[in-house]
Amino acid sequence: MKITEPTDDKRGTILINHWQCGVPVTHGPVLTPFLLMLSGLAAVGVGLAVLRFFSPLGPFSAMNDVYAWGIWKTFNVMTLTALGSGPLALGMAAWVFNRQKLHVVMRTALVSGFLFYATGLIALGFDVGRPWNFYSALMPWRWNSESAMLEISICMPLYCSVFLSFEILPLILERVYYTGGEQSRVLLSRIAPIIRKAYPFVIIGAYVIPLMHQSSLGGLLLLAGTKINPLWQSPVMPLLYLIAAVFCGLGFTIFLLMIVCLRYARTLDAAILAELANLLSGACFVFITVRIIDLIWRQQLRAAFAFDKMSLLFLFESAMILGPAVALRFRRIRETPRALLNMSAVACLGGMLYRFIPTSIAYMPLRSTTYFPSAPELVMAAGYIALGSVAFVLAVNYFAVLPCEASTWDHTFRPFGWPTKAATSPIVMPTSPTVVQERAI
């Protein structure tokens, strides 16, 4: 296979190649001290979570009846699943809006999104007080169909366990295909056509369902009514939460791709990153437009520029979103890796602020009580994030997640430690195209 020519690099900052497919990281140590530290944090966090299951919530959190939702819900779920909306944003761009270029980075988005959702759901599972009653989710006659909470409590686990898992399945089967024996390949050649048949139908659900629950996360807060500062409390909050999820998903995918490519010394694909940056900028502009129209509609513009605490917070948050939106309009910035990395990080932070503020700083209940997460609460929240990070690093090392040139992949995966018969060269196949199709995953 021919190595692709680097594209014209106007900035002269970095070698720019073409991303063609997912390629596993096959060099360097996996268990770095940093990863061990993260694993330790994850172990402590999950250990505390298990302890929490045998204990009331009281000793483990600083939540109270006025601030009934702590950071597990407001940060790990409501904020971080926005970052985990990459599969939604990129998938819709790639499959619905036919941005073919983005298929190659879908795996990075999918794995990170899956881990954000999975850790968020773990956080949720240990946050609710009576999880044993959750079996009601399987009984539609018990559903209160007008509750946004119902929508979330059913759609989020469903999305993560069915739709995201299905989208990630090829990733795992592919590894089995290359490292497994002949038997498993025969088995996979039977499964693969079924997956291909189902795929275009299943991914419809993979986009409709997160559209529903990401907007419902904003819809949740409508019932909180006057408790939330009017700069944030608005009937369009569901829409804004959804747009925030879209641009956070795009921004975080850019950020993650660049950071991880930096870590594993991979070259970047300027065209794909620029395409993502373009979408990110567009989504940020849509967000800001809706936000401003909403403020004018509700006659809150004066409050927004009153330069008091809440107004400054609003302006800061909006600047974090508007800044990248404007900056990424410039081709020069889009194609400068450092600037793109910074701008995508800023956009993510802006989106996270928007998703976090209404349930924390702008959440102003009647009774004067304060809430600041207690130490176990913080450790558990950090532990869930660390757990996701560790899983991501392992995924990058053992599965074909990160995009790279096809020629850099010798089709050997980093083995888990047991001997494998790795397929290092194309298997001689009959020339019949139908057989080729069956073989594929």
Binding site: M1, C21, F54, S55, P56, L57, G58, M63, N64, D65, V66, A68, W69, W95, V96, N98, Q100, R107, V128, G129, R130, P131, N133, F134, S136, R142, W143, N144, S145, E146, S147, A148, L150, S153, P170, E174, Y177, A192, I195, R196, Y199, P200, I204, L211, L220, L223, A224, G225, T226, P235, P238, P365, L366, R367, P426, I427, M429, V436, Q437, A440
Partner: protein, 321 residues
């Protein structure tokens, strides 16, 4: 006081005749409320109380702060005494909490001698935000209007606490099997047996009285009309707040000073569901979006497959999905 007592006796007698008689006489509005509430809308902006809706009227100017209602409430609901502040001696809660469904609080001005008592418990809204938000219908608006909690359906998500504008539902943070503690109008304990709630039954001064909502609203307005200067803003708190509540307040000081929030007249359920109830009606919105997505995905899928076959022929390795 004699007026109050006679009224109370009248209500007792009325309920004594039986909810059966009431429901037999007035089945249509009750059914209309249960199914579609008025004009076919699930959450009207200004819900109309059904004619059999019960209520509590609390007159802060009559209350002497004797707190007789608090032990009565604890006894009726089997609640322990909150003795944290009193060093284990007597019931002394700081506010509504996991051991307290009903409390008398004192508002006292720092600079003048203005003071007032206020009784806090569930407001039993006509369109309760907690019921709208409760995912599996653990919180229910019962007949007569009491809002009750069912332990076997609650997952402990605490959305009711976030949703309630009056911050009434309380969660047992110190219990491994936590319950939501809130006033349920003594629905199971007393209302079902045609008795009035424990707090109104215990009140010696008639500061809090029980009756039908329409009657109590009339009573409150009579009191306002009789003494025009006495009551704050000459209005009843709870008549329209958040769509109307089934606990009504009269006070000589500002309701906000008593810790009752300043709320609009629209119900929160209406505000929160007016768009989603249309979008999600019979799941029409999601199905429509799925149809549109399906069309485009199908089309783009064919293109993608063509590219994949080309790739496979060229390299011999299967292309990635």
């Amino acid at each position: 006081m004699s007026v109050t007592l006679s009224r109370r006796q009248a209500f007792k007698a009325m309920i004594g005749l039986g909810g059966t008689a009431v429901s037999a006489l007035l089945p249509a509005p009750a059914q209309a409320r249960a199914s579609s509430q008025g004009h076919g809308e699930e959450h009207p902006e200004h819900p109309v109380a059904p004619t059999n809706a019960i209520a509590m009227l609390y007159d802060s100017t009559v209350c002497t702060g004797c707190k007789a209602c608090m032990p009565a409430c604890n006894e009726a609901n089997g609640l322990p005494s909150d003795t944290l502040l009193s060093g284990g001696i007597w019931d002394m809660p700081m506010g509504l909490n996991a051991k307290t469904k009903n409390i008398i609080e004192l508002y006292q001005d720092q600079h003048s001698d203005e003071f007032a008592f206020v009784k806090k418990q569930c407001m039993h809204c006509l369109d309760p935000a907690c019921v709208t938000g409760c995912p599996f219908g653990s919180l229910v608006k019962q007949d007569l209007g009491a809002v009750t909690w069912n332990s076997s359906l609650c997952i402990g998500c605490r959305y009711c606490e976030v949703a309630c504008p009056f911050e009434v539902p309380q969660f047992q943070w110190q219990n491994w099997n936590p319950k939501i503690v809130k006033c349920e109008f003594c629905y199971d304990q007393r209302l079902k047996e045609d008795m009035q709630p424990a707090c109104t039954a215990a009140c010696p001064t008639g500061a809090v009285i029980f009756g039908k909502r329409t009657d109590l609203l009339a009573t409150a307005k009579e009191r306002i009309a009789a003494t025009p200067q006495k009551y704050f803003e000459n209005r009843v708190y709870g008549e329209h707040e958040a769509g109307g509540t089934q606990v009504l307040y009269l006070s000589s000081v500002s309701f906000q000073k008593l810790g009752l929030p300043k709320l609009g007249t629209a119900s929160f359920g209406h505000y929160a569901t007016k768009v989603t109830s249309v979008l999600y009606k019979w799941l029409a919105g999601p199905v429509l979006v799925a149809g549109v997505f399906g069309f485009f995905i199908r089309r783009n899928w064919e293109r993608h497959e063509a590219e994949r076959r080309e790739h496979e022929e060229k390299t011999g390795f299967p292309d990635q999905l």
